[in-house]
Symmetry: C2
Subunit: 375 residues, 2 copies
């Protein structure tokens, strides 16, 4: 067993500075119901960037240190400090998920059963070489699945499945998804095709439209087109979609979606009502790709909801039985339905190279970075 | 029995004109489970103005006709016509509620039991002299209650009670109310005092602050003060309020409320989370006093909901048993907890005098108009 361990940490200091660096840490020893995983692959998700960059203004980012031990520093605007005061002075581990090989296991039967297996893991700072994790945070991958294939087994797959299960639980019959060409969006598209659910994909570029259509998507509307609102309304009329998931938030897409749903719902109303249609319209905002204000131009009556959507909250609403079935499906279909596609692989040190940082922090659709901490 | 009947109607014509006028109609004959009510008092609620004015630009309003049969006309902007197309060419009755004496009754026991009684009534165009209504739309007032006292037995009382019951049903423990000096707000204040519920009243003028404090309100915050956000946050910390009701909608008050709730919820968090606190924060928007966009500046994490709130939808969620108890409470306490205060009384014709129209359409807090159709 190796005796060196490295993790990536993000620290905000009292003097308004963010520092991201590598840190030498001890090799962990597993407790009874824990395992030690040699992390071989971990994705850079938007939620990881939010932890890593926090409130810093990354246009001020500078690289120092050495090639092997680079250090990124950036300024945190003074007015943003109060919002992050609980993390000031703390070295925060980064990385929500990843996968690797279990190289040590605690004494419990559950832990021992994982020894030598390739597992995916959720939570606790996966941007490191060796991670100690609870058995229940691990998902044993099927024989033949590689760590790279399993690196994104939780965040995107469970989020996509949680959207479908939330649609079912709340009585809707079709889904609208924004920023739909993302890895998550492609997954949702595959799930909906497999399960026979109508999915309206909203994208903003014609190449994303093509990508999704080539993957079998039936409804793709392009928000950059002049006909966008008419196209979206037509798709809603055809599918009956009354629930949407939007990772953007800022701007007026949520508003547009609600207004198109209302146009569709009210088109056959015989009596005019100042309260709008009775059809309940729901948008869940699950990200903040646009951090600007959410602007709602309210021509959608009174039967509507806009809610934040967070995976862990959604899972606890759906309940253990549904969640266990979701996890099993992910393990079974990780190389098909839930396959992730990475465009770049970087070492832990390369995460802190200004050049790659500038690239992955764009969060461009179709670009996705994978960290391989053993390089 | 009188043989003349008059109602107030609102009509939008193909050529983008709104006309509000009085119309002679037949005296109604009650069906088996119906009664005919001589309407003696009916309030002018914001929801009635929405039906009466619809999409018209009331700054263009003109009065014609005679003193006794005035006619109001106004322009409907061309771009607003499609939103109201289902009412074009139809004479729409106005008036959501009112009260009066039952002067004729159908054959059912329920109808006969109301004969001669003073009742409040919901729905169906109460801005008329004689209204035929279903027994279940009537609330028999207690002996000694006048029609004027009972005129507002439904919209405000049930809305205020529905807020409290929604708070209970959804597991919150204190309420925030915006535009809190309104008739509805004063009612909610009385209910919350009676039921021992902490209520944070948001107002925008110091005289409204005084008014509510004189009525026993413990928490009143003034949104015009520089200290508003700090004051609101302090009140939330003290009460634990996580649900708010806002009749304004447009602007950023909803956003401010959510952000203050989040500040209160996260103040004791030991670990920083990019997703914000776990405390679920809810704002219900139940009006459109500001028709501009709702702007949400999202510093309130992911555990939040903003929903439209409409009395009838809320009642159907709460269920029949709760609603029956609410109606009984209204009848029992209509001269105390649910008392409405009117500053002006107008006849049906006077509703169509430009001078009164200009006054009641302001919807100024503290000003409230009552129609007395028998004058």
């Amino acid at each position: 067993m190796a005796d060196k361990n490295i993790q990536l940490i993000s620290t905000i200091s009292e003097d308004n500075k963010l520092t991201i660096a590598l840190q030498n840490i001890d090799m962990p020893k597993p407790g009874a119901d824990e395992v030690v995983i040699r992390i071989e692959a971990a994705p850079l998700n938007p939620s990881d960037l939010a932890v890593m960059f926090s409130a810093a203004d990354m246009t001020t980012a500078k690289q120092s240190g050495t090639e092997q031990h680079p250090v990124i520093t950036a300024d945190v605007p003074a007015k943003a400090m109060s919002a992050v005061k609980t993390r000031v002075g703390k070295a925060v581990s980064v990385g929500n998920e990843g996968a690797g090989t279990v190289i040590a296991a605690g004494t419990s039967a559950g832990a021992q059963a994982l020894l030598g297996k390739t597992v995916a893991v959720i939570g606790g700072g996966t941007y490191r070489q060796y991670l100690c994790a609870k058995v229940q945070s691990c998902l044993a991958l099927k024989d033949g699945t590689t760590a790279k294939q399993g690196a994104s087994s939780f965040v995107n797959p469970l989020t996509a499945l949680a959207m479908v299960e939330t649609m079912r639980a709340e009585g809707h019959k079709a889904i609208i998804h924004a920023a739909a060409a993302s890895n998550l969006g492609q997954m949702l598209n595959r799930i909906c095709i497999a399960d026979g659910i109508d999915l309206i994909n909203i994208v903003r570029k014609s190449e994303q439209e093509t990508l999704l259509r080539d993957m079998g998507a039936k409804y793709v509307v392009n928000s950059s087109k002049e006909s966008f609102l008419a196209d979206l309304t037509a798709a809603i009329i055809e599918t009956g979609a009354t629930i949407a998931f939007d990772p953007i938030g800022g701007g007026q897409l949520t508003s547009d979606i609600l207004n198109c749903m209302e146009t569709a719902a009210s088109r056959n109303m015989k009596e005019h009502s100042v309260y709008g249609s009775d059809t309940f319209k729901q948008v869940y905002i699950y990200g903040a790709l646009n951090r600007g204000p959410i602007t709602l131009h309210r021509n959608f009556g009174f039967a509507w909801g806009v809610n934040g959507f967070l995976l862990f909250n959604a899972l606890s609403k759906l309940g253990t039985k549904t969640v266990m079935a979701m996890r099993k499906r992910v393990a079974d279909e990780i190389t098909t339905t839930f396959a992730s596609h990475y465009t770049h692989e970087v070492s832990l040190a390369e995460v802190l190279h200004l050049k790659s940082l500038a690239a992955y922090s764009k969060q461009a659709t179709g670009e996705k970075y994978l960290i391989t901490p053993q390089r």
